[in-house]
Symmetry: none
Subunit: 214 residues, 2 copies
Amino acid sequence: MKQHIFLTRRPETLPTWNAAFPNARLMPYPTSDSALAKSGEAIIWLHIAGDKPDPALLVQESALAAPGCAVVVLSNVPSDEEGLAVLEAGAVGYTNSLAVPEVLRQVAAVVENGGLWVGPSLMQRLIAGMATRSGQINNGQLGKLSAREREVALAVAGGASNKEIARRLQISERTVKAHLTAAFERLGVRDRLQLSLLINGLPSPAAEFQKTVH
Amino acid sequence: MKQHIFLTRRPETLPTWNAAFPNARLMPYPTSDSALAKSGEAIIWLHIAGDKPDPALLVQESALAAPGCAVVVLSNVPSDEEGLAVLEAGAVGYTNSLAVPEVLRQVAAVVENGGLWVGPSLMQRLIAGMATRSGQINNGQLGKLSAREREVALAVAGGASNKEIARRLQISERTVKAHLTAAFERLGVRDRLQLSLLINGLPSPAAEFQKTVH
DNA sequence: GGCCTACCTGCCCTTTGGTTCAATGGCAGT
DNA sequence: ACTGCCATTGAACCAAAGGGCAGGTAGGCC
């Protein structure tokens, strides 16, 4: 059972958090990085109220201050856009700050197992948006990769950086590079950009360019 | 605690299911609709082995036979495409049929709370695919760039390195970088990979649309 | 037991990519 | 003549990507 740290601007709010995790630590925000850094393995619950500071930035700062910790965002006014932003920034969970304790524990269990938690609403949108063009992904190529390599390769094909991938998969950046190097080798490409083109099934590399210079 | 009903063609398989839910009911598949109908509130675990019958259809049949019940799909050979298909068809969960009891209970808990469960791999793809598109629905795209910037951007979108572009356009590598920096700025992307995705029309449905009308 | 593969990571290095702070010259419009 | 945009480039710099070497775990197979 990991430790739970709630970062918030209003420490007095939301007794539901304590109901969910009696042994949770409540820290005012902003917090000194050092305080977070030595907290070890923990789940950071980042409470965002307004959009004054960019939520995505807050996530990245928190992740930076507490390396190895999963960051879950609690929003007062959840929206799909905000959820998308924080998840892209490396958060592994996004939910309503008023969620009942049961749901909070649920989220905690999921992220502890290396999962990602998003609400039903956002999830539906993700699925709907993806379904329309899922056929374009090149799977013959992906079959050549191991499970982990495939995960990394797909993230790269989506435009993610090594750091982001490491954060999402809870592995070191070095390991991401290792998987990528293996993927490049197996698929016969030289870098992440060509990997992206291959996976996304796009016209042969440099074809567009050739047209412009012929 | 809801009831758990496992639908499978091979009732003898997978003791892990019973380990996860000792009080589960195992029903051979296909099942008479009536038997399912009177089961009341339950979670239907639909075990699919091959792709002989369309998994998506099976989900819809099950959902029809047992109204109000959540349907979770267990696949012997999980793939992102299959997952996408069954989730679209109305399933609220998709995971490996060999998943350990802990994960199964995890899934059950999530769907009982009205959540949707997808595996990390598929989730990764959903996020990666969706994330980059948040921001630019306005695709003036290449039109926003100067002639030279467009040339360089297209070359990058095709997978070329700065050095290659410099050589083929007969300019210095430094100039290539200058054009690229300008292009990133104008298109609102952060690096060459995202530029590639944007230009190639992957990030946004709107981009696809623009391409088809012009 | 060895052997293989997948997976994970450290340290350290080179290469590439990207930016900052400049400068120069052409070319069009007012 | 002045202003603005564009193309071009250098030097220097920092960050990201990629890979070599070395090591660790864990599981499957013979």
